[in-house]
């Protein structure tokens, strides 16, 4: 068996990633279209829209063209970086994805995911150290509860309590409607104020997951011989956990973190809906429900790119940490 050098390994993985990307994009193209549905169905839900509009729109959108023709047009556009026009919004897909919605999602889901990872990790370290204590039990129960609570329910509860009853936070949105922001600082403060509730809910929901994964991984490592050796050497418990147990649990944790960070681009449909936080999650939901193929493909492309990139980086990280994976 021959070990590839890290740069050669990186190039090989990059090529594999590109091939996977095109295969998945092609599969997605056909998958979206075999899904039963009608991109002009939304017109039937729109009171006051002239009944002739739907019939005319179907002709104009070219939905009657053969599938292979649509596919080659799509591939051609993709190579030139053109993602097409949204059938529902009637605007360029890039404009819809890479605009305010992406920023909103990155701000909310990104910050809450990062916080949840950090807090989950800290709580896991704490609870492994305090294993079988009352506080560890309390943390575990807390994590199980937050992990199990449906997001929409917790969200509505927060709105009822902190927004409607106490009046501390807004019901939804990202900025105050009537307010004219004098400067960027005021806008940022308003934005953060609106983000407080969805951020808290999303963080709470995710803490449990991270906590439970890391805690269980570390607890199983605690049983390993090398931990016993470390203890036998007389190392303090904190040092055993930080320097030996945690380090051993790091590679699988890195995978989870990588995927979670890539998952940021998928948004958080429930939280975004409950808090009227206009992000990619809601955009994706609407694209699915209206069979907006170009928009769906565009969002899928972004998510796919994020996951493949995360996967690629994690692979390289693994190859760096553990040279065995470079053998072929």
């Amino acid at each position: 068996m021959v070990a590839l050098s890290l740069p050669r390994y990186a190039v090989r993985r990059a090529l594999e990633t590109l091939i996977s990307f095109f295969i998945l994009v092609s599969i997605a193209f056909f998958l979206f279209r075999v899904m039963p549905g009608d991109p002009t169905a939304f017109l039937l839900e729109s009171p006051r829209i002239h009944p002739g509009v739907r019939v005319l729109l179907r002709q104009r959108l070219g939905l009657d063209r053969p599938l292979y023709e649509q596919f080659f047009i799509y591939l051609g556009n993709l190579v030139t970086g053109e993602l097409g026009y949204s059938l529902y919004y009637g605007r360029p897909v890039t404009e819809l994805i890479f605009g305010r919605r992406l920023l909103n999602t990155l701000a909310l889901v990104g910050s809450s995911t990062a916080t949840a990872i950090a807090v989950g990790l800290l709580l896991a370290l704490y609870s492994v150290r305090k294993y079988r204590s009352k506080s560890e039990s309390a943390v575990t129960v807390f994590s199980l509860v937050t992990y199990s609570i449906p997001t929409f329910w917790l969200g509505m509860l927060f709105i009822m309590a902190f927004s409607v009853r106490l009046g501390l936070f807004p019901v939804g949105g990202t900025i105050t409607a009537v307010k004219v922001h004098k400067d960027l600082l005021e806008l940022a403060a308003d934005y953060l104020w609106h983000m407080a509730l969805p951020f808290t809910v999303l963080t709470l929901i995710q803490i449990g997951y991270n906590y439970l994964i890391v805690r269980n991984a570390m607890l199983s490592i605690l049983q390993e011989d090398f931990v016993m050796v470390a203890r036998a050497k007389g190392l303090p418990e904190g040092s055993v956990i930080r320097r030996h147990v945690f380090r051993a649990a790091l590679p699988p944790f890195a995978t989870i973190v990588g995927l979670q960070l890539a998952g940021i681009f998928t948004g958080a449909v429930m939280t975004e809906t409950v808090f009227s936080w206009e992000g990619l999650g809601r955009l994706m939901y609407e694209a699915v429900s209206t069979r907006d193929y170009p928009l769906l493909q565009g969002i899928f492309l972004v998510i796919l790119a994020a996951f493949l990139a995360a996967n690629y980086v994690v692979d390289l990280l693994y190859a760096y940490l553990d040279p065995r994976v470079r053998y072929r």
């Binding site: 729109s46 939804g172 105050t176």
Partner: protein
């Protein structure tokens, strides 16, 4: 490493810091009217009025020759007088002389003529149907124009009259830049940057400078002439509009600013209104919150009939549902009173006719009602040859084969799913095997409208209950995949009568013809009307000037009347300047409701209301119950761990 306590402290500090940012919208000198909208505008381009949300924005930003009043009749708006030739093929219109575009340029008949020709040339799907019967349009003088029709259309004022008028000094140049003007985004700086230089090069200096000033101030080219102009838009979040300073109706709109703020669910909309973040809901309030809303002294809960009609559609091409007696049997098997009183908690009315009950003048109240009767169902089925030949308890088809009827319902609406469940249960009682298949909306539409693969389905729609749109539905040319007649209703006599009706200028004679058409529909039963829901747009008590009408308390009249100074609603229709020279349009006796008061409450029976109140569980009780369950669960978990040790 941080201790557990330190982590808790940090979390608490962060929470306090965020809470300290709290402020509530303070009182401002200007009147800001906030509508809690369910979704953001989909198409910034006014040519693409394809969703309800696009419709709302066009409603307040663009004017029309006529506006639909609370009586659902067309009333003169930009139009100051009109007349037509004896054969009805030439119409002359005059427009108001004091109307201006948002950029300050005057609106003239030239703009209207341009708009008609523009729609005819580029055929935008949203507006072409409004002018397709116009052969040509010509300018008579600065404020008068004439149109020539290819055929007489008695409903002209309800179709052509409602089309939005575009500013010629903008759209002439949009068409120069974009081969298909529907791709122009007037809110995009790139697109504005392409069109503005053309305007400056092609228009007189005084016109172009006003456009330039407008763009410099607001950053867009969505210039209309309606009561509000767009000042700010935040993608997916809100639309901020200001009062049109030169609006041709003095004193209107009452509010200084109008904001459409997105709250993604009906619950969130309701909570925003309850809290005071918004003043009125755009969507109907969920049934579950209505008892609480009615008890809230700060809220008004109007119950206006929806413009939608819930109905069942049959596939007339199918060997089972194509049999008229079978369709009649299904109609008798559905108890509409049970549907509206029990399934819809009394927040709906049963419907028996083929015209929305709001258009009272056109409704035929004598069509067969198909009252609930399982005995009649059995009789009709027997008569059609649906008999249980093999004695297994289920009827066979007239040809002796076994059959099962499939009913599609939209899975997102529990009411409609339940209606179909009830129908299935009732049909089973008379030996008809049926099954309800809930589908997502788009899938159902695909099966029904595109593939025509269905037997029975349930949907809500309004257009096919407006007589002026009958020819877009109940005709053979629409009975094709993708058309508006998925039922396959083809009836030559009906189409002949429909043509006569559309060409009949006298309202009374035309109404008689439409009543006969309704009789045919009731007899042939391509669709079965079931109910009209109440559209309950909860609003705050401090909001004055609300006009309640079919379709809801939120409408054009409320949007221009809404204020916080207690000024009651007015309907500032344009008075025609001189009498119409040819046969006058006969006044239609329809009751007008112009009040913020609840008028439909009496429809609900006390029993239903009390039942709802009894069934209502305060949220605190639900929360307490869940917390209790969690605590008990936690205690059991801890106990289990201790035992395990």
């Amino acid at each position: 490493m941080l201790s557990f306590r330190q982590v808790l402290c940090i979390i608490a500090i962060l929470a306090l810091a965020l809470a300290s940012l709290t402020w509530l919208p303070g009182a401002t000198a200007e009147e800001v009217f906030i509508v809690a909208s369910m979704k953001y505008i989909k198409n910034p381009n006014p040519l693409k009025e394809e969703t309800w949300y696009d419709w709302w924005l066009n409603l307040v930003m663009y004017d029309r020759l006529f506006r639909e009043g609370p009586d659902l009749e067309p009333h003169p708006w930009l139009c100051t007088w009109y007349e037509y030739s004896p054969d009805g093929l030439v119409w002359l219109f005059r427009v108001a002389e004091n109307a201006y575009w948002h950029d300050g340029n005057p609106l003239t008949a030239e703009d209207v003529v341009f708009t008609i020709e523009f729609y005819r040339k580029y055929q935008p799907p949203s507006w072409y149907p409004y002018v397709e019967f116009v052969e040509r349009a010509e300018l008579v003088d600065r404020y008068t124009f004439r149109i020539y029709l290819s055929r007489f259309n008695a409903w002209l004022l309800r179709t052509f009259g409602y089309m939005i008028v575009l500013p010629k000094h903008v759209w002439t140049y949009v068409a120069e830049v974009f081969d298909d003007p529907t791709y122009f985004n007037p809110l995009s700086s790139d697109d504005v940057g392409k069109v503005l230089p053309r305007i400056e090069a092609g228009e007189p200096a005084e016109v172009a400078s006003k456009v330039r000033d407008f763009v410099n101030r607001y950053g867009h080219l969505r210039i209309g002439s309606g009561p509000y102009l767009l000042t700010k838009w935040v993608e997916g979040e809100l639309l901020d509009l200001a009062k049109h300073p030169k609006y041709f109706k003095p004193g209107f709109p009452r509010a200084d600013r109008l904001i459409f703020k997105v709250y993604a669910t009906d619950e969130a909309q309701y909570l925003a209104v309850k809290k005071g973040e918004a003043h009125i809901m755009m969507w109907t309030a969920p049934y579950a919150v209505l008892p609480e809303a009615e008890a809230d002294p700060n809220l008004v809960v109007p119950k206006s009939p929806d413009v939608y009609v819930g109905f069942i559609g049959f596939n007339l091409r199918d060997p089972i549902t194509g049999i008229k007696n079978f369709r009649k049997a299904v109609a008798h098997a559905l108890d509409k009173n049970f549907v509206v009183k029990t399934l819809m908690l009394g927040y709906a009315e049963a419907v028996y006719t083929y015209v929305h009950p709001g258009f009272e003048f056109w409704v035929n109240k004598d069509v067969p009602r198909y009252d609930y009767s399982l005995a009649e169902v059995a009789r009709l089925l027997d008569e059609a040859g649906f008999k249980d030949v093999d004695g297994d308890g289920w009827r066979e088809a007239p040809d002796g084969s076994k059959f099962e009827v499939t009913i599609y319902s939209p899975e997102y609406d529990p009411v409609r799913v339940r209606i179909c469940d009830v129908l299935v249960e009732n049909l089973a009682k008379v030996g008809v095997r049926a099954r309800n298949v809930p589908l997502d909306f788009d899938t159902m539409i695909d099966y029904v409208y595109n593939q025509l693969k269905f037997q029975i389905y349930i949907i809500e729609n309004d257009a096919n209950f407006q007589p002026w749109y009958y020819s877009a539905f109940y005709v053979e040319e629409q009975a094709v995949p993708g058309g508006n007649n998925p039922w396959g209703f083809v009836n030559k006599e009906f189409e002949e009568m429909l043509k006569r009706a559309e060409g009949e200028p006298d309202d009374y004679r035309r109404a008689e013809l439409y009543k006969k058409l309704q009789e045919t529909l009731a007899e042939e039963l391509p669709i079965l009307p079931i109910y009209v829901r109440y559209w309950i747009q909860v609003y705050r008590k401090e909001l004055s000037g609300v006009v309640d009408m079919p379709g809801g308390a939120l409408n054009f009249w409320t949007l221009i009347n809404g204020n916080f100074r207690g000024i009651p609603a007015e309907l500032p229709y344009t008075k025609l300047e001189k009498p119409i020279t040819l046969p006058p349009v006969t006044p239609i006796p329809i009751t007008v409701t112009v009040t913020a008061a609840i008028t439909a409450t009496a429809v609900h029976t006390t029993t239903v209301r009390e039942t709802i109140r009894e069934a209502y569980t305060p949220p605190e009780v639900v929360v307490a119950a869940v917390v209790a369950v969690v605590l008990v669960g936690a205690a059991m978990y801890l106990l289990g761990r201790r035992t395990a040790r």
